[in-house]
Symmetry: C2
Subunit: 226 residues, 2 copies
């Protein structure tokens, strides 16, 4: 029987590729998404519509309002920057977001007996978020095994899988295509139009477009007309 895995699934390019990889590695993916007050809820709508087609056995959506925490362009009143990817941690960084997401994944994993957790973080073509780095992931994994029944009772060991961490965006796209991912059904923009069209200018759009260009491909997502 295939092993269950939790997959953090936003409906974006990276997490959708990550789900395809989990499946290709023989896991049964249990997708978890978060409705946390993000301004780009188009992504979540796509995640809900496509989870099953993308191979999820189940799809859990956890709701909470991270706007109460604030501190980010993705949840607050700060504008999303559109002038290119810089070297500092940008205002789109959401404080402790991956830690909150992975914690819920850990709880669900413990309940359903899934000790493998996939997260599509990437430390190469990325925005410089601290919680996308390998040393952070290793520390979370260590903590996870001390936090839980499985770790104490020796009935399993949690593994955080980051299959995209060392890949360029172009490599991620090629990998996903080889596994049958339909990128027309993924969304990455931080600040989409009401009809869901991507802005083409935020860090996330720029990294995505650069990835498709480097892979010699056309991005099938829809972008705002200019």
């Amino acid at each position: 029987m295939p092993k269950k895995a939790i997959v953090l699934y936003s409906g974006g390019l990276d997490s959708t590729t990550c789900m395809a990889i989990a499946r290709a590695e023989g896991f049964k993916p249990y997708a978890i998404s978060f409705s946390y007050g993000q301004r780009h809820s188009v992504e979540l709508d796509l995640a809900k519509a496509n989870a099953s087609a993308m191979g999820a056995e189940e799809h859990l959506v956890v709701d909470f309002d991270y706007r109460k925490i604030g501190g980010s362009a993705l949840t607050g009143d700060i504008a999303v920057p559109k002038d290119g990817v810089g070297n500092d941690i940008p205002v789109t960084y959401v404080p402790a977001r991956n830690t909150v997401f992975l914690s819920f994944a850990l709880g669900w994993g413990e309940v359903i007996g899934a000790h493998d957790i996939f997260i599509g973080v990437n430390a190469l073509d990325y925005s410089g978020y601290p919680d996308c780095r390998p040393e952070y992931i290793a520390a979370f994994e260590k903590m996870a095994n001390l936090a839980t029944r499985a770790g104490v009772e020796g009935t399993g060991r949690f593994l955080i899988h980051t299959p995209l961490i060392d890949l360029t965006k172009a490599e991620i796209i090629r990998k996903g295509l080889s596994l049958g991912v339909n990128y027309a059904r993924t969304h990455s923009c931080y600040d989409p139009a009401p009809d869901g069209a991507a802005c083409g200018l935020c860090d996330s759009c720029r990294l995505r477009l650069k990835g498709f260009a480097e892979a010699g491909l056309q991005d099938p997502a829809s972008y705002m007309k200019r």
Copy 2:
């Protein structure tokens, strides 16, 4: 100016004592509570009513439905055991709960510039939860400093304070009383009556009553008549 500290505050005996200790150590407490679908919501109501009187500068209540995750007597349909404190991890253990709570605390702390986080875990008179042990707390702290901007930019270091971890329940109560805590306004029961009266039989009530008895004191909380 006093430093800000985040205090995980459930409205129970331990977390209320913890807030008093944070204040006594010179911190300005920012209390965070969680409405997560717990069956003992009396505790949360008390937390909301008393946070300010107990010394909190602000009180943030984060809502999410952990019943979707399940796996615990505190959130699910499993009955709360009333036959005494055992040696195994009991069914009242909520998978990854402290990790989820601390993660939200970390996010809020990063936003408001509070690098000190207080949590009233106790590894002596406790129910045997894996996420109350010192080795877990140390691993969370390490992860927290890799997860965040402050850790990367060197602008602060998160510290998880666990002032109750080595104390007996009686010592916690004596400490709280010396700091002016009014325990009549705290609640600990896992399965209270609709009017808020504590059951007196769940692990949490047993540990609390034992604590007051060992301290040679009467618990001022209200218990169900038998």
